[in-house]
């Protein structure tokens, strides 16, 4: 009971802290007033604080949470399908495809929505490439899938380098480089409206598929002998993962490590079946990303790129978790 109360308290405190603190400090009372004002304008407020909170911090917090939940669930689903705890969303090549799409978008135009749609589109293209490479005579093995992911990854990373190479070093190159390092700084309600529903619907579908991921986890032969259509189910999971990853990369750039680390944390709190595991991963992922982004904003006067912090925290933490798991 006490534990649950603590969790609820934590679940409320983290977002409130995230929204109220920053370069422009505001109080919890301000947040309360803003929320009341939304429904019924009662209080007089400093318009700058109101605008910062409503138009910058809240959409940014929402984006971070949606992306975190999505990535964590992706990692969890992939680790289940491949029965391999070392697999994260990067491995299937969607990330690199989306990274290339985004870089290309920045190169050819100033329009941020073109960047977003290119990132999303090329994420899907990368998955199709994986599909074509990995499927041999109507059948895909786990091993060829991972190898095809590596192929697709390398291919698109080379294209990213190519884009960087031809980009104008004074103007476009820094923009591409910063975009690739990941950030929620450009989050807006419009972006949430564009990508949020896609990610959330895919996330929900992934959770519903949890039971099937349990079956796939047993191995192809076993799953087949239990009457599961292995190919169809596995590609459904991969398709949903692609939608989520491409969506995340298109709004936030390349955010590594979250999908790999969070499911391992979730395993300590959840029942082992993937239905529960996916829900727990998504919840923890949402808050994990919020905390990470809080650190990005707060650690120094300049904003630190998201990808840097996720790796700096994720890598040692992952090493610790692995050692603990091996030890037990």
């Amino acid at each position: 009971m006490l534990k649950k109360l603590g969790l609820v308290l934590l679940a409320v405190t983290i977002p409130v802290l995230y929204i109220t603190s920053g370069q422009l400090n505001s109080s919890v009372a301000d947040l309360g007033k803003i929320i009341v004002n939304l429904f019924h304008p009662t209080f007089e407020l400093d318009s700058i604080i109101e605008r910062v909170i409503l138009l910058i911090r809240i959409p940014r917090a929402l984006t971070a949470m949606i992306c975190g939940a999505g990535l964590a669930a992706c990692g969890c689903a992939l680790q289940g399908v491949f029965a391999n705890p070392l697999i994260g969303p990067q491995i299937i090549g969607v990330y690199s495809g989306a990274a290339f799409g985004g870089a290309l978008g920045i190169l050819i135009s100033e329009n941020s929505f073109l960047t977003l749609s290119f990132a999303f589109l090329f994420g899907l293209v990368a998955m199709i490439l994986v599909f074509v490479v990995a499927r041999v005579q109507g059948y895909t093995s786990r091993l060829t899938l991972v190898l095809a992911g590596i192929v697709s990854s390398s291919f698109f990373l080379a294209l990213v380098s190519m884009v960087k190479f031809v980009a104008d070093p004074d103007d476009k190159l820094p923009a591409i480089t910063y975009w690739l390092m990941g950030s929620f700084a450009t989050a807006s309600y419009t972006k949430i409206q564009l990508v949020g529903p896609l990610i959330l619907v895919a996330l929900l579908a992934l959770i519903i598929l949890g039971y099937r991921i349990d079956v796939l986890n047993l191995g192809d032969d076993h799953a087949k002998s239990l009457g599961l259509k292995v190919e169809r189910n596995r590609w459904s999971v991969l398709g949903l993962v692609t939608v989520i990853c491409a969506g995340v990369v298109s709004v936030a750039g390349v955010v590594g490590w979250v999908g790999l680390v969070v499911p391992h944390i979730a395993r300590h709190f959840s029942k082992p079946n993937h239905f529960s595991l996916l829900i727990t991963s998504a919840c923890i992922g949402a808050y994990y990303m919020l905390v990470i982004d809080y650190l990005c904003r707060g650690l120094s006067s300049m904003e630190i790129p998201l990808g840097v912090i996720t790796a700096l925290i994720g890598a040692p933490f992952f090493a610790y978790l692995l050692r603990r798991r091996l030890g037990s």
Binding site: I208, A223, S225, L226, N233, P272
Partner: protein, 250 residues
């Protein structure tokens, strides 16, 4: 139940079995014996529909469940959840197992007398228990034909007895059809009514009583088997007696 006609089985490009014909009625039990590498596992995989035959056809009426030789799979699930996965066939993609599925799973756990393990983690079970759990899973999937690849190879003698007693009971209760491969001719002889003996050059297929003889065993395994009779000659056992017994230094 199962009709196999003119079946050929290959592993890679190597032809292992040719011209296999047999028919299996519901509730019967088929044993497959033969030396290592002769194609027992390959044959069972083809019968289970996991691999395609090189030629010929396998026609099964009903659903098939297959238990691989190595049951040492890694899964964090508990036993009940593991058995519940047997319902996958009957659930639409958006459905989760409901209370009826749970009842079905619990029923088979009870039949296998595993109900006390329902909440234990699958990983912590012994090899024998894992095998029984996976059989319970297969039964939860309401299979009509159960195919087991060397089910007794990882089990101690007591668990072997238990396994075959349970299989026997299931044949009677559920008129389950069972196919299993084994290296112990006695298991095949005492539990099966049909037998396939696979040799490298030819195979024998037919009623267990007829074709299971020490001569044929000697031929396909290339070792010496003797027949022993027990219980006033009513029970026949096959015992491996090496022609040149190992020399123990005295």
């Amino acid at each position: 139940m199962l009709t196999v006609s003119n079946l050929a089985v290959e592993r890679g490009k190597k032809r292992l079995i040719q011209n296999l014909d047999f028919e299996l009625l519901q509730g019967s039990c088929l044993g497959v014996v033969g030396p290592n590498g002769v194609g027992k596992s390959s044959l069972l995989r083809v019968l289970a529909g996991l691999d395609d035959p090189a030629s010929g056809s396998v026609v099964v009426s009903g659903t098939v469940a297959y238990l691989p030789q190595d049951v040492n799979l890694k899964s964090d699930l508990n036993v009940l959840e593991m058995v519940l996965l047997g319902r996958a066939r009957y659930l639409k993609w958006y459905q989760q197992p409901n209370s009826l599925d749970r009842k079905e799973a619990e029923k088979w756990l009870q039949v296998m007398s595993l109900e006390h393990l329902a909440q234990s983690s699958f990983m912590t079970l012994s090899g024998g228990q894992k095998q029984l759990v996976l059989i319970a899973q297969a039964l939860t999937s309401e299979c009509d034909l159960l195919i087991l690849d060397e089910p007794s190879s990882a089990l101690d003698l007591q668990n072997q007895e238990k396994l075959f007693a349970i299989l026997n009971e299931l044949q009677e209760v559920k008129s389950l059809t069972v196919i299993f491969s084994t290296h112990d001719p006695n298991h095949a002889f005492h539990f099966c009514n049909h037998l396939i003996m696979l040799g490298f050059s030819k195979h024998y297929c037919g009623s267990c009583q007829q074709i299971m003889t020490s001569q044929l065993l000697n031929e396909i395994y290339n070792v010496n088997f003797e027949e022993f009779f027990w219980n006033e000659g009513n029970l026949k056992y096959f015992v491996h007696v090496p022609t040149s017994p190992p020399q123990t230094p005295r």
